[in-house]
């Protein structure tokens, strides 16, 4: 079916989003067309604002609207502890659990040769620089318990040990292949408490 230019363009743009196929894109587009103009305006503004008003924190690389981020600025956080995660979603999951009081480092991905992502594409150099600057005593590796997350953790443990910090891995209380993001809060708490030196 052929739609007028602006509608076709909306469908095409929506269809670029992850997990959105052509049918879903079409449904979303018609939902937007049927929605009140003020609501559509709010959505459009939210999209732009989220993109324009956020950056990656220059310290931990988590997504933030102020740089350094609120977590990195918070004087009550334990600055000797850094938890390494794959994505900002993992930071949110750990924060929800209220179990962790240290700082974070977001890698923005995991080592995946088949996806063409190597360690050099992750924020590892930045992590090494943070550790070299001193003050950090323990690094907790909280990458996902799947093949890619484990490979990333093994790579990091070997690299970071040479810098004289304690390197630990969260316990495997998480379901196999399960992501931190989906884990229940008490599972996260147990995974943190049960962490072991690598």
């Amino acid at each position: 079916m052929i739609y007028p230019g602006p509608v076709a363009r909306l469908i095409e743009e929506l269809g670029r989003l992850p997990g959105v196929g052509p049918k879903t894109a079409q449904r979303l587009a018609f939902h937007i067309l049927a929605t009140d103009i003020h609501e559509v305006q709010r959505l459009a503004e939210a999209l732009l604002a989220a993109k324009a008003q956020t950056v990656n924190c220059s310290v931990c690389h988590n997504i933030t609207d102020v740089d350094p981020c609120r977590l990195c600025r918070n004087p009550e956080r334990d600055r000797q502890l850094v938890c390494v995660v794959e994505s900002p979603k993992d930071v949110a999951a750990l924060e929800r659990s209220h179990e962790y009081r240290g700082l974070y480092h977001v890698l923005h991905g995991a080592w995946s040769p088949i996806a063409g992502v190597g360690p050099e594409q992750l924020r590892i150099k930045e992590l090494v620089d943070r550790l070299k600057a001193g003050g950090i005593v323990e690094v907790i590796l909280a990458t996902n318990p799947d093949l890619e997350g484990e490979a990333t953790a093994m790579y990091l443990s070997r690299l970071l040990r040479t810098l004289g910090v304690k390197v630990t891995r969260i316990a495997h209380g998480l379901p196999v292949g399960g992501e931190l993001d989906y884990a229940a809060d008490d599972t996260i708490a147990r995974a943190l408490q049960g962490r072991r030196e690598m």
């Binding site: 040769p113 088949i114 093949l147 490979a151 790579y155």
Partner: protein
């Protein structure tokens, strides 16, 4: 578990066919190319999602049509429900169990398992090792969700590691890059190796016993596992390290379950090179009968046995022996050009005569 009703729509040479089956033995007779095998193929397809004759599902569609559909009403201890598998050239494949859609056709969901005996099985012996690994993965391990997870994890790890080796372009990979994948390949690979070793150990005596009976004690069939990796992840890592140089040169992983061999030997000699056609056929039957036995004792459900034109290759005594060994515990559906085979093992089969896309009941009303 047995199939009570089967409906084919635009499947192979059938426009529309409805058949009723009994829990026991059903015989499909008729001339060549009348569509007997297509019926077995349809049952195997709805049970496993595979065909033994084609990898292209569009081959299953009646010529001139856009899609085909197979519906099987199964009976699991008195509980009846319908499995429906369809293929359409535009919509692809759809599968449902009791009208609920499923992404994968799998006996662990549907409860329907099948063991197919077909002339094509000879490739299991004559073909390359990958045929025998596929036999293990798809036929012997049908119904083992744990094995499927272990194998999927291994295969994903293997793909990662192969990509890493290939991308290195022949130059050295530092230990920091290779070790994480060596360790994980070894762990996932050792798990697959252990499961394969167990299953082959329980398959081998059964296969030897059938071969012995079919040959009147003359032949001893040995089914042995030759793993390329190891059950022990530490040992597995050492195997990988020993091959590191060659692996880099070839850009591929050279040890692990993807290179395993299931060795089939008669009196210590490989069947593939030393067996006669008759010995090979016999060994395939023995292996398949052992699989049926293995599934019967390891699944919560008896598999349906589908025998495609294999009895004609056996003399009357062997036909009789085979039917006894397959037993009466499973629903068995047999195709045969003639009815002139031993009925001794099952006195009262349900018989259909298949002719040019129709099937006519010629013997016994189904009382099951």
């Amino acid at each position: 578990m047995h199939v009570r009703e089967l409906v084919l729509e635009d499947f192979r040479n059938y426009h529309h066919l409805e058949l009723a089956f009994c829990p026991g033995l059903t015989l499909l007779t008729g001339g060549n190319a009348q569509g007997k095998t297509n019926i077995l193929e349809a049952i195997y397809w709805v049970a496993t999602g595979r065909s033994h004759r084609t990898l292209e599902e569009r081959d299953l569609v009646r010529s001139g049509e856009a899609g085909c559909r197979v519906r099987a009403v199964v009976d699991a201890g008195g509980r009846q429900y319908a499995l429906e598998l369809s293929f359409h050239q535009a919509q692809g494949r759809r599968f449902s169990i009791g009208a609920k859609p499923y992404r994968r056709v799998d006996g662990t969901d549907s409860g329907l398992y099948a063991v197919l005996f077909a002339p094509e099985d000879l490739e299991l012996i004559k073909g390359p090792p990958v045929n025998r690994r596929r036999f293990l993965d798809e036929e012997v391990f049908q119904g083992s969700a744990g094995y499927r997870r272990a194998l999927a994890s291994y295969n994903r790890c293997l793909a990662h590691r192969n990509r890493l080796l290939k991308d290195a372009g022949g130059s050295r990979l530092s230990a920091s890059l290779l070790d994480p994948w060596n360790r994980q390949l070894a762990e996932t690979g050792a798990a697959v190796t252990r499961l394969r070793r167990q299953v082959i150990a329980s398959l081998a005596p059964g296969a030897a016993r059938v071969q012995e009976r079919l040959t009147g004690g003359a032949e001893r069939l040995q089914v042995a596992y030759r793993p390329s990796g190891s059950d022990d992840s530490g040992e597995f890592v050492r195997l990988l390290e020993a091959k590191a140089h060659e692996e880099l040169a070839r850009g591929a992983t050279l040890a692990g379950p993807h290179r395993d061999e299931l060795a089939l030997e008669l009196e210590g000699k490989p069947l593939r090179t030393h067996g006669s056609q008759g010995q090979q056929r016999c060994a395939v039957l023995a292996l398949k009968a052992a699989v049926a036995e293995y599934l019967r004792s390891n699944l919560g459900s008896t598999p349906v046995l589908l025998l495609d034109d294999i009895l004609s290759e056996l003399d009357r005594r062997r036909q009789h022996e085979l039917m006894i060994m397959l037993g009466t515990g499973s629903q068995t559906i047999i195709t045969s050009v003639t009815q002139g085979w031993s009925h001794q093992a099952a006195a009262d089969p349900l018989v259909y005569e298949v002719k040019a896309g129709t099937a006519r009941k010629v013997q016994r009303a189904c009382t099951g």
